[in-house]
Point group: D2
Chain length 315, copies 4
């Protein structure tokens, strides 16, 4: 049995035929229509139909759709997806009508987490916390071998637990959310702040950014860090400290077997992992003596969303 996984992002709709081993057998990609719920369903249907018309299409039996937004507990309605302009959108029904196959809707971070748990860095573990360090911070929880969606479908919004009372303002309306300290945006803020207040220490990053503070972006900080630049490494240490301390909090609450770190910030690999693991070990409660969860890098990269959505449609 094959399924189709669809990953609706802010700029593109990516879809693929997924087998029971989490392999993508075929793929298509379309631009995402802006602020057009029906048009979006049309594009998803078009992607599905195109894949069904190809070699493996005739044995596809279900469709899973991952979307960056709040999905209700019935996995049918997108309550809100700010970047896609969806609000209380019956996406499951829309797509189902168009393609005539069973459809499930999932939060995209949940889908990616499920993929990592089943086929990626988390395989073999029953209790997994996936944390996506992208522009913001997303998450997915696998508990007892099952994806934990929460009572209202919005579990694992780990980026929005508070790490600093009266802390930095978050787009969610609160202050001090974890994603203001350990995300890609936080990394960029650290780099730009350094460039403004200590241009000498940020010399290399500034050079890579053409001398313009505002153009110090994540990939530039990562590149500078990989070149061994001390200023950029300091930025990663700062973000890594917050990331590791946050994992320690999640360990106190959930006691998982492993953490899987994904998202753009994790592209830095060991440069990120080292300070994260160090901060985790220094901050986790129950030291010394506690058995420490492993912290691993995600393995599936940008296709985790397709794989996870496809696999969740199977179950």
């Amino acid at each position: 049995m094959l399924t189709i996984g669809v990953d609706i992002g802010g700029t593109k709709v990516a879809a693929g035929v997924v087998d029971h081993n989490g392999r993508i057998l075929d793929r298509v990609k379309y631009p995402t229509p802006a602020n057009d719920p029906r048009g979006l369903a049309d594009v998803v249907a078009k992607a599905v139909e195109e894949l069904r018309g190809r070699r493996h299409g005739d044995v596809v039996q279900a469709v899973g759709v991952g979307v960056a937004g709040f999905v209700d507990e019935d996995r049918a309605t997108v309550q809100i997806a700010v970047n896609l302009g969806l609000r209380d959108d019956p996406l499951k029904e829309r797509v189902q009508q168009r393609v005539g196959l069973p459809v499930v809707i999932e939060n995209d971070a949940n889908a990616a987490a499920w993929a990592e748990a089943r086929f990626g860095a988390g395989r073999g573990s029953d209790h997994i916390v996936c944390v996506t360090l992208g522009t913001g911070i997303g998450g997915g929880l696998v508990i007892g071998g099952r994806l934990h969606r929460g009572r209202f479908g919005v579990a694992a919004e780990v980026g929005h637990y508070r790490v600093v009372p009266h802390g930095r303002r978050c787009a969610c309306g609160n202050h001090g959310c974890w994603e203001q300290y350990a995300s890609g945006r936080a990394l960029v803020a650290a780099g730009q702040d350094l460039a403004r207040t200590d241009p000498v220490a940020a010399e290399r990053m500034l050079k890579l950014a053409g001398g313009v503070v505002e153009q110090i972006e994540g990939h530039i900080i990562t590149q500078a860090a990989m070149d061994g630049d001390e200023g950029a490494l300091t930025c990663f240490r700062t973000i890594g400290e917050w990331a590791g301390a946050g994992l320690a909090d999640l360990a106190a609450i959930l006691d998982p077997e492993c953490f899987v770190l994904g998202g753009g910030v994790s592209d830095a690999g060991a440069i990120l992992l080292e300070p994260v693991r160090d901060a985790f070990a220094r901050n986790v409660s129950g030291r010394p003596g506690r058995r420490l969860a492993e912290i691993r890098l995600a393995e599936l990269g940008g296709e985790a969303g397709i794989v996870g959505a496809g696999d969740l449609a199977r179950h």
Copy 2:
């Protein structure tokens, strides 16, 4: 089928015969032997034998033991129980040898949470977070209808996630743990601090404490608050603010259907609940629009540990 639940506390070992509806049919109580692992197993066995010798004893088929400490994932060994002087103690085996029945060991907060989930304030819900506001803060998670123990048996140590970086010192070795802000100990500290720095505002509490700051304890603050004393109410508002903000963090991570608050601080009832609910609503992310978990008071009181341990032995 009946089971026996045992709750090993710092001063007494309480045991009871528990039926499948969570009712306690018979009970016994013994003092806890100090720093004596074998003696402790003897007392547990004695309690079990006494109950088996009574009216319902012949149909008892299993024993569940709740203990205030870290229990390993096999529910057999107490890794550490500071107040009982246990370390890597094979409690399951010790008790099993003595009573000849199947035995499971559980963390006491987990046992109590399970009882509330099955027979108390949480019945009917599949996703429950129980928080015990006692001297410290304990917790228990029911996820998908099952008790979540974590990979290494130490999940739900919610009192030790960090709410204030560089915050108050905790006995666990960290700083800023939630239990330093929202527990009974925090309530007492708030009351005593007020008495020291503003004796007029703390007049009523001081009077109830015989004029001695150090004797302002939890029950005194609770009593003063119930009498309408503004100073004591302020203490509850402070603790309630931290408790509610903490529940908001747990909601961001777990999205439960309900929270169940137990422990001595919850004896204040609405005096605690009101500021907790208020702070929860003001702090939870996804406002406005998010569906809010309910916050309820625990219903089983001090016997939740017996009931939960007994019921867990059944499964």
Copy 3:
């Protein structure tokens, strides 16, 4: 002997003839030229010359110029004034050459503080801390009856001491500066945050702002608070708590006789003063027993800058 005080603001240059009692005998006003150091000196000179050509002009003997920026310890050079586009600008020399009178340059918050100390809310006290709660937070210190400029001319930047480690981002490049919590901008942020996350509680403010969150500005929150609106009062309580706690810190360091609060936020009068005094009393160290500094509202309003600059030119 009379002097002329000039207050260079972001939009206008206001000048007045000031007598030895701090009275303004005559005044003129011109628009501020943007990013034009020489043009700015021209406008200052024009204002001075116009006033000298009028009735009191012939007895004017010196000119004081207040400017929103860092002024060096010789009171001659504006090191940096972001909003005026000045950097290492020899403003004293420029103006002196044009008007042929002795000139002193002052930081504008220092000038206003001096005016309040000599002729306003602080008269009669030798140790005064003035805090201007405007868009940001400025300050001025009078110690032993003299204006304290600091070794490098930049004392009393009280808005930039840190009240929250890892706190809100400040334009100065740091995080957690006081002015992110107790200024007019912080008040507006509190009002807008409330409107976003709890529109019902912010109903009155939203109505006054035509339903547009982004148009909830300081005067709207002040008006709503004066009408008794609970949402707006909550915003003032939040800002007042931070303001009062900050004054407690300044009292620990400086032990002044009084604090003088000015700036737009202080237009709310008692609505601000009450929570500030309450928070100050709860937070100041040495309680109970310590003699508390008074906290007063500024008396000279928007003309304090002219009066202070003029008076400082006299000494």
Copy 4:
């Protein structure tokens, strides 16, 4: 003209004849009587008389007494000195009656600060902030060349401004006071916490402390750090970070020419200075561009109190 300076400490009363260059020409020492205000005045008088009976005694013209407590603005009464058991004690009058010379009473940290300003690390500067990193944190401010006592005599209690909202409990009744983060007590707490939670990292300190966590004291951490032990150096970096960030706050408020660091923690010299200067430079507002105050170690050691008290009696 010579004076006598007296430094009343918790265990000894030290006195010396002080010349106008801040040199101590002769000295005596007596045990401090406990909880005996009259007895204390007797001992001070005895010390003064003994010194007057010696070689330089006949030209002594005044007595200055430094005392660890709150001294009123008239420099006559000790409002409270917890460790000496004084409360509203007319110490000036008591001593004056006994010795028949003019007497001034000073807070001991103020006296030591004055000595450093006149004859020690601060000489040549008019704006100096002295910070004593002892068990707690004391301070003294020299502003415009004069000792700043504040309106009520209690200025420069810099150890009790708040650096962490909801932070560590302080003996003063507040939470988050600077002295809970950057004092000798904070250093010891850091060392002992490390030993408890990561005994391997604290191995060297533990060895020096005979294996007993509670016996890791300041001099042991200092010794281990001087031996190059990474665990001990980490403790100094932590304390140094807080110390330097605090100096940045004081610079924002006071803009001094230099800071003088004294007290037991400063015995570590460069081991402390380096992280302090680094943190100061990273945290001070107005970067880049701001001229940085110097940070120096105190030079007069334990005799600063005698020298300062003696010199203040001269003026």
